[in-house]
């Protein structure tokens, strides 16, 4: 144990004596480790962002439509049928409604602004929780009566009315040639991250929310049903049960009732992403081997340079194992120090990047631990041959070495 401490001190002195050389030797490890850490962390961060994206869509959210790909026909749902589905699963469904909306233009002081109005059904808070900063949410009553009320985003309100608080204002929307007026009852705050905005695309289009019945009538037909199930419900079982119910209801084969959960796709993407980041990480790990060879090279030079020192140490009582340990520790330290610097560099870059585009980065401690211990292992592995060469030197010849 004491000799290990002495060897550590020795290694540090010899690294200090050759600062530039030690740094250049470490460089391979620094680059290797920092690229492994950044690549793996970018992968983990992407996975985190994507799974968040799915979660904001709703991990229990299910979309249903009917499509027979053999005959190429689809079918539609009415409000009445949607209600029947809800009544069949009162304990499982916490939101159900047609997936509906209109696109059009807001006419505002001779200006036209593109807009999408999404239709909401009762209990919409279960799938979309608006952060209302002015006014109020749409009430159960508003939804059921199909009132022409809308929720407007705070940024849209600023653009349209010059004030964030646009409650009480009237919005005129032209869609499919008809003009309708809507009353703004609430302003919700935009909670999207920069990253989400990046994907949201053209922000000139205003997104509004209104009761689905505000622009649909009792006999409207919908291609898609949007529903949300409780956490406790078995998703797979529910999917097959709802498919067979709709099959009976609409007289179609259950396999043509498409029941699609976002989480299905998410696990596929997640799996793909983790494989991808593993593959790219493995390629980056090759640079660690290159770094290791660099360490071996320098250690061999160092062993030759210090032949006489090895002879002196042996004459003074150093055992073969003492010399072996001394050189092994030295290469392990160079390598691990490179690994630590590389970790700081890699993690720092990722954190900074995350800060700049405002997304929460994921840097797993296991990745750092693996990278640093792997770098020390590389150092020991590639240091073994030079250390053995040093330890096996004949003391008489080594003492004569000039």
């Amino acid at each position: 144990m004491m000799l290990i401490i002495e060897s550590l001190k020795l290694a540090l002195t010899s690294i200090k004596m050759n600062k530039l050389r030690s740094f250049l030797t470490m460089l391979g490890m620094i680059i290797g480790i920092s690229s492994v850490i950044s690549i793996v962390s970018i992968g983990d961060t992407m996975r985190g962002v994507i799974s968040k994206e799915y979660e904001s869509f709703g991990k229990n959210r299910i979309s249903i439509y009917i499509y027979n790909s053999d005959e190429g026909y689809s079918d539609v749902f009415s409000f009445e049928e949607i209600e029947k589905i809800q009544e069949a699963f009162p304990d499982d469904i916490n939101y159900i409604g047609p997936s509906t909306g209109i696109s059009g233009e807001i006419i505002n002081k001779n200006q036209k602004n593109k807009c999408n109005i999404n239709g909401l059904s009762p209990n919409y808070q279960n799938i979309q929780n608006f952060k209302i900063i002015y006014g109020r949410n749409l009430s159960e009553n508003d939804i059921n009566a199909g009132k022409k009320y809308v929720l407007l985003q705070n940024t849209s309100s600023s653009k349209l009315f010059g004030t964030e608080d646009g409650t009480g204002k009237i919005i005129t929307v032209e869609s499919n040639g008809t003009i309708e007026e809507y009353l703004v009852v609430g302003i919700y705050e935009n909670t999207q991250s920069t990253f989400q905005k990046l994907f949201a695309g053209n922000s000139d289009t205003h997104t509004l929310y209104a009761p689905a019945r505000a622009f649909s009538s009792e006999d409207s037909a919908f291609f898609n049903i949007d529903l949300n199930i409780n956490d406790t419900t078995d998703k797979e079982l529910f999917k097959s049960r709802v498919a067979s119910l709709i099959g009976r209801m609409k007289n179609v084969e259950p396999q043509h009732v498409r029941v699609y959960a976002a989480s299905d796709e998410m696990s596929t993407i997640d799996d793909m992403m983790s494989k991808l980041s593993l593959a790219v990480g493995a390629i980056a790990a090759i640079s660690l081997i290159v770094g290791g060879i660099g360490i071996m090279n320098i250690m061999l030079v160092s062993v030759t340079e210090r032949t006489r020192e090895i002879g002196i140490r042996k004459a003074l009582g150093a055992r073969t194992s003492d010399i072996l340990l001394q050189f092994l520790i030295e290469s392990a330290i160079i390598s691990a120090a490179g690994g630590i610097i590389g970790t700081i560099l890699g993690a720092g870059t990722i954190l900074l990047g995350g800060l700049l585009i405002n997304i929460p980065v994921v840097i797993k401690p296991t990745v750092i631990l693996t990278a640093v211990s792997f770098s020390a292992l590389v150092g020991i592995f590639f240091g073994l041959y030079p250390a053995k060469k040093a330890a096996s030197k004949d003391p008489i010849a080594a003492l004569r070495y000039e």
Binding site: M2, L316, R319, T320, L399
Partner: protein, 230 residues
């Protein structure tokens, strides 16, 4: 006084390709505790080979060697390292200090391999450097010291584990006359304190400091006699 070194019928043969070099041919030698011995001879006479064998750096081809009452022939590498560490204090012609270590660290080195605790090492190394007159220079690096001072550090290092034998190979070979005399006086003092000192040299005036001269030629002892200091 007990026998510290006992060598019986010792042979050493080197094989250099097909040529056999007989470096030592049947050496018989006994050195008692407290002796001050000079081993002399031309280069190639076998004195360095004997020196390496006495110092447990080399192994004889045949014959027996007892050091401090224990047979050294046939010991494992690890035991030889231990023996060097505990029984022998080396002093070399080229000083052989570790250049990036201070005088203090150099003196501590044999104690590191003897697994002595750091505080003890520092205390003892400081004391030893004071003994050889370098109390003021314990933190100097070897290249900041003169030849004579370097050799004093080396002597302090040789004393670190209190070995029964000081083995000096041409200790004054790289020194001027004044420094040589100082170093030899230091060895004389150490011998007077009871230590066994063996010096390999080819200079007669250096050998004159000792009490016993052993001359080598062609791998054999040709002279072994006391020095008359009167």
């Amino acid at each position: 006084m007990k026998d510290i070194i006992k060598i019986n019928d010792l042979y050493k043969t080197y094989k250099n390709g097909n040529i056999e070099v007989k470096a030592l041919r049947g050496i018989n030698l006994t050195i008692k505790e407290g002796e001050f011995v000079a081993i002399m001879g031309q280069s190639g006479s076998g004195k360095s080979t004997l020196m390496n064998i006495i110092g447990c750096l080399d192994k004889p081809t045949s014959g027996n060697y007892e050091l401090d009452g224990k047979t050294v022939v046939g010991l494992s590498e690890e035991m030889l390292s231990y023996t060097r560490n505990q029984k022998i204090g080396f002093v070399f012609q080229a000083f052989n200090l570790i250049p990036r270590n201070s005088a203090l660290k150099n003196v501590e080195l044999p104690m590191v391999y003897a697994k002595k605790p750091a505080e003890y090492r520092k205390e003892r190394a400081t004391k030893l450097l004071e003994t050889v007159g370098l109390g003021e220079r314990i933190d100097h690096l070897p290249n900041e010291l003169s030849g004579g001072q370097k050799q004093r550090v080396a002597i302090a290092r040789a004393l670190a584990n209190e070995p029964p034998i000081i083995l000096a190979d041409e200790p004054t070979g790289n020194l001027d006359t004044a420094a040589s005399v100082e170093i030899m006086e230091l060895f004389t003092k150490l011998n007077k304190e009871g230590r066994t000192v063996i010096i390999v040299t080819h200079e007669d005036d250096i050998a004159e400091f000792t009490n016993r001269i052993i001359r080598f030629r062609d791998g054999q002892i040709i002279y072994d006699g006391q020095v008359d200091h009167s």
